[in-house]
């Protein structure tokens, strides 16, 4: 093998490994405690409600408050969106919290999420929503703790693509003929 060709091959292999590694280590940076499971493009038809679910994963060893924490001081987990005009995201349904006691206070049970958290919602494109593909942006707000400490509230950006199909043309209703007309 020629030295130049050989060096180029080695360099490309090392660079490839470097890219893989930087992506791997990058995913664990930023002190986030929750990850969003990306959503495939959601297809909707104007005027029709489309159920959708968002999956989040709370990292091992951590928990976050549920949407309805047991005390008023605790920060609830919420998911909010700023959808494009003519699209509504409604009926956000949070899972019930797991009532869990922790080593820092075995006498008290807190309503928390750990592991996978699935939040359901409904996408309602208005009947006049123009067709096309939109990116919907949202925010998952949470506050995480482990068995000994709690961490400042975080906002996890959430986004997914939404494809709005062309509205079905409403067929004009056949006008009934008067039975009296012959």
């Amino acid at each position: 093998m020629k030295p130049a060709k050989f060096a180029a091959k080695v360099m490309s292999v090392v660079m490839l490994c470097g890219i893989v590694f930087s992506q791997e280590s990058g995913s664990s940076q930023g002190r986030g405690y929750v990850e969003f499971d990306p959503l495939d493009t959601v297809s909707v038809t104007p005027g029709q409600t489309k159920p959708v679910q968002f999956t989040f994963h709370v990292k091992n060893g951590y928990h976050i408050n549920s949407n309805k924490p047991t005390t008023e001081e605790l920060i609830p987990t919420t998911l909010g969106f700023t959808p494009p005009p003519d699209l509504v995201i409604a009926k956000v349904q949070y899972p019930p919290g797991q009532l869990t006691s922790f080593p820092f206070d075995p006498t008290q049970k807190l309503s928390v999420y750990s592991g996978d958290v699935i939040i359901k919602a409904a996408i309602i494109p208005q009947p006049h929503a123009p067709s096309g593909t939109y990116t919907v942006h949202g925010e998952f707000r949470y506050q995480a703790c482990d068995n000994n400490a709690c961490y400042p509230p975080k906002k996890l950006p959430v986004q997914f693509d939404l494809k709005v199909a062309k509205a079905k043309k409403s067929r004009p209703r056949p006008t009934r003929q008067s039975p009296n007309i012959h």
Partner: protein
């Protein structure tokens, strides 16, 4: 050609293996540091506690400087109302303030949250807090290493040096031992 393929394969395996070994090692180190609660004691212990000048909760505009407390052993407690472990720890701090206040201990709570002051004040009253609560700032948090988690406590001796710090809820006995250390350190004795 065959040799070149084998060689490239070997390089991929070796480089990837080394990178992942390195990553798992650093990750393991991080876990140890986190489990101890003060894995970076060299960064703080023995160093002068950074001075601050923060607004006192319910203090009618008054501020408190850490340097004003020189000569006292000080526990600087970073906390928040949404932090359940902080809530567990507060009554212990109240007890320590009662027990050691006469011997020159001063506990100082620094609230690290965006909540309005009334909420913090109501919470502190409910918890029977008998030491000053200050309104924290990001700048002060940065001086103390960023305050990633709460509760975080710094035990400062009478000369103003950090003798211990703890991240997360520790046992009451550990806190008491650290308080005694801050009151009785050699530097503390000189400062008295």
């Amino acid at each position: 050609m065959k040799n070149s393929v084998i060689f490239v394969g070997v390089v991929i395996v070796v480089v990837t293996g080394l990178l992942f070994l390195g990553k798992s090692f650093t990750s393991h180190q991080g876990q140890v540091a986190s489990a101890n609660g003060n894995g970076d004691e060299d960064r703080f212990n023995g160093k002068p506690a950074p001075d601050f000048d923060l607004k006192v909760l319910d203090g009618r505009g008054k501020t408190l400087k850490l340097s004003d407390l020189k000569g006292k052993a000080v526990v600087v407690n970073f906390w928040a109302t949404w932090c359940e472990p902080c809530k567990i720890e507060m009554p212990w701090l109240v007890d320590f303030q009662k027990k050691y206040g006469g011997q020159g201990l001063q506990i100082v709570g620094i609230s690290m949250e965006d909540t309005d002051e009334k909420t913090i004040s109501d919470f502190a009253h409910k918890m029977g807090v008998n030491y000053p609560i200050l309104i924290g700032t990001e700048k002060v948090a940065d001086l103390y290493g960023g305050i990633d988690g709460m509760p975080t406590l710094f035990f400062v001796d009478r000369s103003g040096r950090i003798v211990e710090h703890e991240l997360g809820l520790r046992g009451m006995d550990i806190l008491e031992a650290n308080i005694k250390k801050s009151m009785n350190s050699t530097e503390s004795a000189k400062a008295q």
